[in-house]
């Protein structure tokens, strides 16, 4: 049944509606950065402590059932001699360069290119933890994310034929309340993992006192991995 609404009634309705909707529109939605209830998981790699032993790679391979010899993190050997190999920094077999290694893995960006370019939403952010992870059932294997990642930290898993990245062992360890496999297995405490939004967490306290850097900040992806570099003291 239709009726003609009088102007007066219409205006009353508009007035009442604006009184209700106006204040609702003005209520601010808290943005993510100030929301401390949501976790923001970070990993800290301390270059001062890493010896390049490679246990993290083995741990990763086992924990995530990856193909033989594959892992979601690598150690880049940047300087210092290793038995029988030339130093990557100075090229000599015997030198006094300090041994330095850098962890290479998914940087868990806050503004992740892989998530925005993925055509199916397979590369997505886990709603509960905010960790960038993969929905294997959605990935079509187009490799767009692999080209789009400024860190070249994604790969195709030969077993499943879909793209993969380090997701802090989200499904294999975190969901069981454990730390990521590489963090657990690191004998030298070179890897620290935790929620930076938790004021009592160790990572929060560590990063409050230690200088740390992020990789390739010019890409504006806001990575969640922090690196504590070896710093020479004195002149």
């Amino acid at each position: 049944m239709s009726e003609n609404i009088e102007r007066r009634r219409f205006l009353k309705g508009v007035g009442a509606a604006s009184l209700i909707w106006g204040p609702m529109g003005c209520t601010s939605v808290e943005d993510d950065s100030s929301n401390t209830n949501k976790p923001h998981y970070v990993m800290v790699f301390d270059q001062n402590k890493c010896t390049g032993c490679g246990e993290c790679k083995l741990a990763c391979n086992t924990a995530n059932n990856l193909p033989e010899g594959k892992s979601k993190c690598l150690m880049e050997h940047q300087s210092g001699g290793v038995e029988g190999k030339a130093c990557p920094h100075c090229g000599k077999d015997k030198c006094n360069c300090e041994r330095k290694f850098v962890r290479v893995s998914c940087q868990q960006c806050k503004n992740a290119p892989c998530v925005s370019v993925c055509p199916t939403g397979a590369a997505h952010r886990d709603p509960k933890t905010g960790i960038v992870t993969m929905d294997k059932s959605k990935c079509a294997g187009c490799k767009y994310c692999i080209g789009a990642c400024p860190y070249n930290a994604r790969f195709i898993n030969e077993d499943t034929n879909v793209a993969d990245n380090c997701d802090f062992c989200l499904s294999s360890k975190l969901s069981k309340g454990e730390l990521p496999a590489c963090v657990q297995l690191c004998k030298y405490d070179a890897l620290v993992f935790g929620d930076i939004n938790d004021p009592n967490s160790y990572v929060n306290k560590l990063l409050a006192v230690k200088d740390s850097v992020r990789m390739k900040p010019q890409f504006g992806t806001e990575p969640s991995l922090r690196y504590i570099p070896v710093v020479k003291l004195g002149v």
Partner: protein, 315 residues
């Protein structure tokens, strides 16, 4: 302190997108370009008949985009996963937006083929099932053609936007890329349509339509050259990463492909064939086909160069 540490290794070896993607970019460019040319001419000249050029463009656009889809599917890590791209969408992804555009564009190229070959379909008994469909679609021919024109442009541009989202590669991550791909798509699409219209649909080599296209060829080519110069200059005068990517133009196998394939065959070839030869030769069928093949080969080289050289020089 940010930036005081770097790593150079990666988890993926080689390049993410190999040659089938370059072939797809090439085919999608030709498909879109051919239709842009044919439909623009149709609207400008208020044509109502199915001209040989229109037929050629409709046929080319449908065949090339279908082959292009084949390239895309075969390049997936597992081609059987292709349905996922059609079922799941992510509107922040250029690829996903492209899929939406292609889902409308590919059927439309088929519809344009129905329009173009209506008489031929009538003549073949086995295809009579298509006749009711044609008569149903006939009243909306003009709006559909307009929509196809817009989508053809979009498909050309989208291939540029698609790869310019790869932020780690300075040669690829440029705003000019979509424009360059539209320009080169139009020039190669026009060349392909011209050749097929003469070869298959018996268009006269010196008809008014082809004359118009011969004339339009040069401004389009100049535009293309301008866009390539823009990309090269922005790299040469850019920051450290851009400067290192500039060596794509100066050294290595991809520089050779660029200077021989893109510049030599694609630009100098047609220019020399048309302006450096005698009047009789430059107006002959031989020169016409040679020049067309040069333009199309040059465009394929351009796509290969952009994709391979682009992904070779990352930062």
């Amino acid at each position: 302190m940010d930036g005081s540490m770097e790593f150079t290794m990666g988890l993926s070896k080689g390049i993410a997108w190999p040659w089938p993607i370059a072939v797809y970019l090439f085919l999608a460019g030709i498909s879109g370009g051919a239709l842009v040319v044919a439909l623009a001419l149709r609207f400008i000249k208020c044509q109502t008949a199915n001209t040989p050029l229109y037929k050629a463009a409709a046929l080319i656009s449908f065949v090339t985009i279908s082959l292009g889809m084949l390239c895309l599917v075969l390049d997936l890590t597992n081609p059987m996963f292709f349905w996922r791209i059609l079922v799941f969408y992510n509107l922040t992804s250029v690829m996903s937006l492209g899929v939406i555009a292609l889902c409308a564009y590919i059927p439309l190229t088929a519809v344009l083929c129905l329009y173009a070959f209506e008489d031929d379909i009538k003549a073949i008994k086995g295809l009579s099932i298509l006749l009711p469909l044609i008569s149903m679609l006939k009243p909306i021919r003009r709006p559909l053609e307009l929509l196809t024109l817009i989508l053809a442009m979009s498909v050309c541009a989208y291939t540029g936007f698609l790869i310019s989202a790869l932020i780690r590669f300075p040669l690829i991550n440029t705003a000019v890329l979509p424009a360059l791909f539209i320009a080169s798509g139009i020039s190669a699409g026009a060349a392909a349509s011209k050749m097929v219209s003469v070869l298959v649909f018996k268009e006269d080599l010196h008809s008014s339509e082809l004359k118009l296209l011969h004339g339009a060829e040069w401004p389009i080519m100049i535009t293309e050259i301008l866009f390539i110069v823009m990309i090269a200059m922005s790299l040469a005068t850019g920051n450290e990463g851009a400067q290192s990517a500039f060596s794509a133009f100066t050294s290595g196998v991809w520089a050779n492909l660029f200077w021989v394939g893109v510049v030599g065959v694609g630009f100098l070839g047609p220019i020399l064939l048309n302006f450096a030869t005698g009047r009789t030769f430059s107006h002959s069928a031989k020169a016409f086909y040679l020049s067309g093949v040069c333009v199309i080969s040059g465009m394929m080289c351009l796509r290969l160069f952009i994709l391979y050289a682009g992904q070779t020089y990352g930062i």
